[in-house]
């Protein structure tokens, strides 16, 4: 690669990632060894931030909550997959439905989460009213620590299934040669058999890819929805790791401790690195 090409093609990205991602990451790791209230000067505390993580019940709660939300990822992917299958045709109806399914992704999140809060309202909310009409008594969704998580999960599902993962699956479906569909049709496969024979082999990788993306999303996400819908409550039942880190950094102004939380979050991404190594291996061996 000649130097001019390098300067033009690769350098901007390398420099940008180094300055705006890797350098901050290193600073963040350094910060986790200090106590810093965003004002005055940081104070060196060594590993005591990390030590405190072990006694911090809130942090443990946040880990458990994050884990719960991560359980949603496969469900979300399953739903997106089915939706993409349902809407993969090129008819006008499907096209407009696809647009509709994309709406939740487009709408301003703060406004939409507040609306969802109203939908969940215990006495007067849409769901409660619907329940009353059919004689079902629903819990007080967002005020009940046991129900707040599922309530948020439903919103996440609603928001997530029509969005970009559906897009990925649609694109993947489009890559399946028509002949494969026809072949399975002529062979007499139907329903699940068709899935096993046609869809699975051709979308396997996209599913893995979406799972990896979804896992990262669940690990690092859940901030906006908690911020706008529950404020992390009730009783911190919806405080995810990222929300907790954010609150700690900016509301409580413990930047060092928040950085320590961030570093621990990064450790959770290690499985993805291993997964990548494994995937590359299996795909290589499958290809040769």
């Amino acid at each position: 690669m000649r130097s001019l090409d390098f300067v033009f093609l690769a350098l901007p990205m390398i420099a940008g990632v180094a300055v705006f991602t890797l350098l901050p990451a290193i600073i963040g790791v350094g910060l986790s060894l200090y106590r810093w209230e965003l004002v005055a000067h940081p104070e060196w505390v060594g590993f005591s931030n990390y030590r405190y993580l072990f006694q911090d019940t809130l942090f443990q709660k946040a880990i458990i909550n994050t884990f719960f939300f991560a359980l949603l990822v496969p469900v979300k992917i399953l739903f997106s997959y089915c939706l993409a299958m349902l809407l993969s045709g090129r008819s006008l109806r499907n096209q407009s439905l696809r647009l509709a399914a994309f709406l939740p992704t487009l709408v301003n999140p703060i406004a939409i989460f507040i609306l969802w809060r109203w939908i969940y309202q215990a006495d007067v909310g849409l769901i409660a009213r619907l329940g009353a009409a059919f004689g079902v008594e629903f819990p007080m969704w967002l005020e009940d620590p046991t129900w707040a998580k599922p309530a948020l999960m439903i919103v996440m599902l609603w928001e997530g299934i029509g969005g970009f993962s559906m897009l990925f699956f649609l694109a993947a479906f489009r890559q399946i040669p028509k002949q494969v569909h026809e072949m399975s049709y002529l062979d007499g496969a139907s329903g699940l058999q068709k899935f096993a024979v046609v869809y699975w082999p051709w979308t396997r990788r996209v599913i893995w890819f979406s799972l990896a993306l979804g896992y990262l999303g669940a690990l690092y996400g859940g901030f906006e929805i908690a911020y706008a819908m529950t404020g992390g409550g009730p009783l911190h039942a919806t405080t995810t790791l990222s929300f907790y880190a954010f609150e700690t950094a900016f509301q409580m102004r413990h930047a060092g401790y928040a950085a320590a939380i961030g570093v621990t979050m990064m450790l959770a991404a290690v499985p993805l690195i291993i997964l990548r190594v494994l995937l590359t291996k299996t795909f290589r061996s499958a290809a040769s």
Binding site: P177, Q179, E182, L186, D187, G188
Partner: protein
């Protein structure tokens, strides 16, 4: 007896009329080849026969029964695509057995058929355990054929089964196909755009053009007695050359300036198109008389020389067995007119003997 029958089928895709009044019979135990240029609707016809598409008009009948009334499952025909006829994630054996399993064929019967297919197609046990990507192109196509045959179909539909194979493989696979077809006594409808394939194994050849069957018959008949201009210009390698002439009842005025007086030729006055076999053309570089054409190319093949010439935008191709010196112009000698067509493209008979003026 026709086992598969297209009755004036029309099939449209949006603006494109892929098939127009398409009519064809595939007889019992017959190997019929559908030949035509790219995009003429060959695959569409095959897909209709397989039930993958529904005709807009007309019917496709299988053993006299309209195809639409049968579930794809119950249809007695198997289709082999050019590519992707195998599931990449299954071994060759699993691929072959898959349609049987879907049809809930008994397990002993499955293995019986598997074995017979394996022997028929000369596939080894080891090869049967491999995935398609670990098989060579020829083996892959044999497995695909096996998958279709294991179903014991009455009609085998093949869409350009050999087009991605190289010459030697192609040669052996097509003779194998012919042997199996004879052996099992099934009907085969095969699509190809390669004439050698068609010539080599077809009982009958159907030539298609723009969604219509132009002519059906043995390859030799198509070559020697083409019924339409299209067939004349299409069949043969190289095919006939087409040259217009003005017919005034007595004399054929050629674009070369020559005039031919045919011995017996009956056609309405006006323009006629002459179909000239490559063997019936001769280019003379010595004589400097009339009938001069430009020589575009000379290709020296193993035992013959192919000379391409042009006049008035028409292309003439001649085969000669003698050496031909490089030259730019030459005189055209016509030895025989294999077939002549009137303005509507209908044949008005060959002109075997004539006088040159």
């Amino acid at each position: 007896m026709a086992i598969l029958k297209f009755e004036n089928v029309t099939k449209r895709f949006g603006q494109v009329e892929a098939l127009k009044d398409f009519a064809l019979d595939v007889g019992d135990k017959e190997l019929l080849v559908l030949l035509g240029a790219s995009g003429c609707g060959k695959s569409t016809a095959l897909r209709l026969a397989a039930g993958l598409e529904q005709p807009d008009h007309g019917h496709v009948t299988l053993r006299g029964q309209p195809l639409q009334q049968l579930r794809p499952h119950d249809r007695d025909c198997a289709l082999v695509f050019q590519n992707y006829s195998l599931y990449p994630q299954m071994t060759a054996m699993e691929n072959i057995l898959y349609p049987l399993r879907m049809r809930k064929v008994a397990v002993e019967e499955q293995s019986r058929r598997l074995n017979s297919v394996r022997e028929l197609l000369h596939l080894s046990e080891a090869e049967m355990q491999r995935r398609p990507h670990a098989l060579s192109g020829g083996q892959r196509q044999r497995v695909a054929l096996g998958k279709a045959l294991a179903r014991q179909p009455g009609v085998l539909l093949l869409d350009e089964p050999f087009s991605s194979l190289d010459y030697n493989l192609r040669l052996s696979l097509r003779s194998e196909l012919r042997r199996i077809q004879k052996h099992l006594g099934i009907a085969v409808l095969m699509v190809t755009h390669d004439q050698t394939d068609a010539a080599a194994i077809a009982d009958r050849v159907a030539v298609m053009h723009q969604g219509k069957v132009q002519q059906v018959g043995a390859y030799k008949d198509l070559q020697h007695f083409p019924q339409t201009e299209f067939v004349a210009g299409f069949i043969g390698s190289p095919p006939m050359s087409l040259l217009p002439a003005e017919w005034d009842g007595q004399c054929l005025h050629m674009p070369t300036g020559d005039r031919l007086i045919p011995c017996d030729f009956a056609a309405p006055h006006g323009q006629v198109m002459l179909g000239l076999h490559p063997e019936d053309l001769e280019f003379d570089t010595q004589s400097n008389s009339s009938g001069t054409v430009c020589i575009h190319g000379i290709e020296r093949h193993a035992d013959k020389v192919l000379i391409t010439a042009g006049i008035d935008g028409y292309r003439l191709m001649a085969l000669s067995t003698e050496e031909f010196a490089d030259t730019d112009t030459a005189t055209l000698q016509i030895k025989r007119v294999a077939m002549a067509f009137d303005v509507t493209g209908k044949p008005v008979g060959p002109i075997s003997t004539f006088q040159r003026v």
